[in-house]
Every structure is written in C-alpha cells, then in structure tokens.
C-alpha cells in the first residue's frame, strides 16, 4: 500500500487527505472540478505542498492534461530526456515504445504530432523515467471524442502490462469505470469514499456517485452467441449484450448505469428488454426530493437502480424484498 498524506491550505481551499492506495494497478481519483484532484497530484509530485524532497528526487512520472512536450527535441529526444535521468531501471524502454506504438514516430518533430500522438509520447516519456508511481492528470480531457477513443486502448494496455502503480485523476465516471481498479472520491479537498472500484461504485450514499454518475461495474465472461448478441456470465447470472464479443474466456467489464435499471415486482412476461434479473433489495437511499438509489443484489453482485421516490412508495419497496431488475442497456469495456 502507498500512504497518501497531504495537507494544503490555500485560503479559500483546503486539501486534507490521509488515505492508502494499492501499490499495483490503477487508482482513480474522481471528483468535480475544484475538488482538489489536481492539487493532490501536485502534492504527491512535490510541485505543491512544500515539505518533502524536491520534485526531481521523488521518482514519480507525471502526465499533464496538456502534453507540453519539449519542442526543441524530437520524439526520441523527448523520450531520452527522462530515461537519461532515471535512477532505476524497472521500466524497459523498448517495452514502453512497443506498448504505446511509438516506433514509427521516433524521428518526428513534436509540432507535427496530433494531440493523441503527443499525449502518447508524454506518457512514454513519464514511464521512461522509470518511476515508482505514475500520476496522470486527466490525460484524455484535452482531446475530442474521436482522439479519446483512439487513445483509450493504449490505457487498457498500460493497465494490463504496466507493473508500476498509477494514480489517474478524472471527472469522467466512464473513464474511471473502464480503467481503474481502486477508487478515491474527492469532494472539497477531502476523501468522501475510497476502496475497490466495485465496492465504491455500488455505494448508494455518495452524493457525487448519484444521477448519471451512478452505476456498477461487473466482471463477466463472454460464453455464447445468438442473434448477433453475446451472452456474458457474471458468476451469478447471465447478461445479453448486442455485438459479437469473442468467447475466449477473458473476463470483460460491463458497466450498468443506474438510470438504465428499473425495478418490477412481478417478472415481466412480455417485454422487449433483454435482461431481467431476479434480485433482492438491499438498500434504499433517498438522493433528493424526487429520486432514490436502490441497491439490489444478484447472488454476490450488486446492481444500482435509480428510481423515483414516488415509485418506491407505490411499489412499497422495502429492504429484503424480492424483485426483478430490468437492464435497459449495458456498456462493454475492455
């Protein structure tokens, strides 16, 4: 585990954090703008916060929101910059170049790179420094949708192949659900929830994880195909998803948004909805005057459903009730 303990007072903003994150995988730091996400990263790097060793002796790689490569050097020069100053060799240079597919870009001037290419070079440069911890400050936020989609598979690869822990700051719940293993939720400079991604996302009492941010992630394995659909087995049941995903026993992440889940007392006999899961109401949390978040359990898995307080009253929903969950849509990632 890595201990993060930082305190900064900027007058109108106070960051006060004391938490632990795993020393493997990707830890997401999720929060709205102004919640202190970037300040936390800058404190870890030593760019803010005062005490501790100077930045260059902290062995952290930092990926900024804007790539800002060194324009007096070509791509190779930019990668060598960190490599020459590395104090350990836990990251293999050729592996980084392969992973981010930079082989053909090495001799290019940095001004000729697209936004996505530049960000890939910036990530590689940070890795070449052979850091103990990689900090990423919304590395996709400066890119448009198309470039983002181009870049995301590289992050999937980093997630699978990189042995260095990553702290990934984002305000995009979809990015976090796709990439992270552990999640820290920040609000007004303080940690309001943290734990494994699956646990934190299935909580109903975190205000920031309500509305369109509410939703769970399930690990599921594609096992069968029919009518152009793929059947995923999540251990405690099946979920059908449009599209042909290779049934090669590699588990994938399914994100099920709470707004896409509805609750019914009786099993709907005639419905166009593909997925109806028998489940139990575990927890009902009033979000505001109109809405409530309901946590349902299916076997050992949790689902969230966002419903109105009116429906909760009309169905007389209570904890422990046996109900049916209808899933309107499911996103497959990875």
């Amino acid at each position: 585990m890595i201990r993060l303990r930082h305190k900064v007072n900027k007058g109108d903003f106070v960051l006060d954090i004391d938490t632990e994150i795993p020393d493997t995988g990707i830890t997401g730091v999720f929060g709205e703008s102004g919640s202190g996400k970037t300040t936390l990263l800058r404190c870890i790097a030593g760019l803010e916060g005062g005490d501790g060793p100077p930045v260059h002796r902290r062995d952290v790689g930092y990926v900024f929101q804007q790539p800002t490569l060194f324009s007096h050097l070509d791509v190779r020069g930019n990668l060598d910059y960190g490599a020459r100053r590395a104090r350990s060799h836990r990251v293999e240079g050729t592996h980084v170049i392969d992973m981010l597919e930079l082989g053909t870009l090495l001799d290019r001037r940095v001004e000729t790179l697209s936004g996505g290419e530049a960000q890939r070079v910036a990530i590689a440069a940070a890795l070449m420094r052979s850091p103990d911890l990689v900090l990423m400050d919304e590395p996709l936020a400066s890119l448009d949708r198309r470039r983002k989609d181009e870049l995301l598979p590289y992050f999937d690869r980093l997630h699978d192949e990189l042995s260095v822990p990553v702290v990934y700051v984002s305000h995009d719940i979809e990015e976090v659900s796709r990439l992270c293993d552990h999640l820290v939720v920040l609000e007004k400079g303080a940690v309001v929830a943290d734990g494994s991604l699956f646990d934190v996302l299935s909580r109903v009492d975190v205000p920031l994880l309500a509305g369109r941010n509410a939703g769970v992630v399930l690990w599921a394995t594609p096992v069968d195909h029919e009518y152009g659909l793929t059947k995923f087995d999540f251990g405690d049941g099946d979920i059908w998803v449009p599209g042909e995903f290779p049934a090669d026993n590699v588990p994938m992440r399914l994100r099920i948004a709470a707004t896409d889940v509805s609750i019914m007392r009786e099993r709907p006999e005639q419905t166009t909805i593909l997925n109806v899961l028998r489940s139990t109401v575990e927890e009902i949390h009033r979000v505001d005057a109109a809405r409530a978040l309901v946590r349902l359990v299916v076997g050992n898995q949790s689902l969230l459903a966002q419903v109105t307080n009116r429906s909760v009253a009309r169905l007389q929903l209570g904890e422990g009730d046996r109900v049916f969950a209808q899933l309107k849509s499911v996103t497959v990632r990875h």
Binding site: G46, V55, F64, H72, Y81, R87
Partner: protein, 221 residues
C-alpha cells in the same frame, strides 16, 4: 590601420560587452521573469533607465563613479595602479551599463513566454532546477538569447555619448568607430567618414535583417 583601427576596437568592445551582458543578464532576466517580489518594478526601472536617459547624463555619472576619486574608480586604482576612465576597461563597464536593457529585455521576454508547465515537466522527469534551466529553458529561449546578443553587440557598436564622456578619444584604447567618424567629419575628411559610416550602415542593416529573418523562420516552425 588608422582608418579601420577604430572599427576593430569597436568590434572588440562590443564582443566583450556582449559576452559579459549575456553572462550577467541571464540570471538577472530569469529573476525578473519569474519573481513576484514587490521590488521587481524598482529593479526593472533601474535596468531600463539607459533606454530613456540621454547618453551624456549616463556618461557623466559613470565618469564620476569610474573616476580616480569615484567609488569604483578609486578601488580600481588601488587594485591595478591605473585609472578606469579613458581606458578600454572603463569603456567595457560603461557599455555594459548602457546596453544592459537591450540584453535583459529579449531574454526576459523569452523566459516569460516559457510556460511554467514545461519546467514542471522537466522536474518530474528527473531534472533538478539547474538541469532543467540548461536543458529546457535555455534551448527553448534561444530566440531571446540571439536577440539579446545581437542587440547588445549592435547597440554597443553604435554608442557615442557615453564613450565620449568616459573614454575620450585615445587611438587604440578608446577611439571607437563612432568617435572616429565624428572626428573625420570635424576635420572635413568626408571620404573617411563615408567609408566608416557606410560600413556601419550595412552592418546594422545586415544584422537586423538576419535576426528578423531568423525570427520568422523560428516562429513558423
């Protein structure tokens, strides 16, 4: 020799002054570009004063300061047994003061244009502050350095008033090209004045043209 001697002396003076100004001006302009102290306007005003002061005023104060009884002059006399005024060394000091803003301004502008994030990136890539300065800030501010060197050199080459006050007109020691031209005109030797003046004119044009052409190419990159 007598015709082109002053030209050679001017070139030497300008070269020495430029080297000193780049060396001293770099830390000064770095500090001016990045400081937020309330003393900055004061320092900035002092540095830039030679731009607006008449050269004779500057020359007058330098003459007093560098003279055998002045603060710097007397110390120099006790150190070297010779006077600073009316010497090449005195001219170098005077030129450095006179051309300082022409070295500092372009470098300061270049440093101010450098985004803080670029330096922060260098630090997170393992560079100490000094390392990042030389490996990132200096190469990315090359335009500012070139402008500073060109302007310091050309400006020193063209100075007249300060030189006349502090250096006088000693052949081979302080008789720089601008003084020599003035002399030639005084003695109605227009042919000699023409030859030197035309050389300076062409040089000044060529240097500025080259600088702006280079700037354009750099900004297009």
């Amino acid at each position: 020799m007598s015709l082109y001697g002053p030209l050679w002396l001017s070139a030497q003076l300008a070269a020495v002054t430029t080297v000193i100004l780049i060396l001293l001006g770099t830390p000064l302009s770095w500090w001016l570009a990045r400081t937020s102290t309330r003393w900055k306007p004061l320092v900035q005003a002092i540095v830039d004063m030679p731009i607006v002061l008449p050269p004779t005023v500057l020359g007058f104060y330098l003459l007093i300061l560098l003279g055998p009884r002045g603060a710097i002059g007397s110390w120099w006399v006790s150190l070297t047994d010779s006077a600073l005024t009316f010497s090449f060394a005195g001219l170098v000091i005077a030129s450095c003061v006179y051309s300082l803003p022409f070295a500092v301004q372009p470098m300061q502008n270049a440093f101010e244009d450098l985004p803080e994030r670029v330096l922060e990136r260098a630090w997170t890539l393992g560079a100490s502050k000094l390392d990042a300065f030389f490996s990132v800030a200096v190469p990315l501010s090359m335009r500012g350095f070139v402008s500073a060197a060109v302007l310091s050199f050309a400006h020193t080459l063209g100075e007249f008033g300060v030189v006349l006050m502090v250096g006088g007109n000693i052949p081979g020691e302080t008789r720089v090209v601008s003084i020599a031209i003035y002399d030639h005109v005084e003695s109605l030797d227009y042919a000699a004045a023409h030859r030197l003046s035309l050389l300076l004119l062409v040089f000044a044009f060529a240097v500025l043209f080259a600088m702006f052409a280079l700037n354009q190419r750099w900004s297009r990159r």
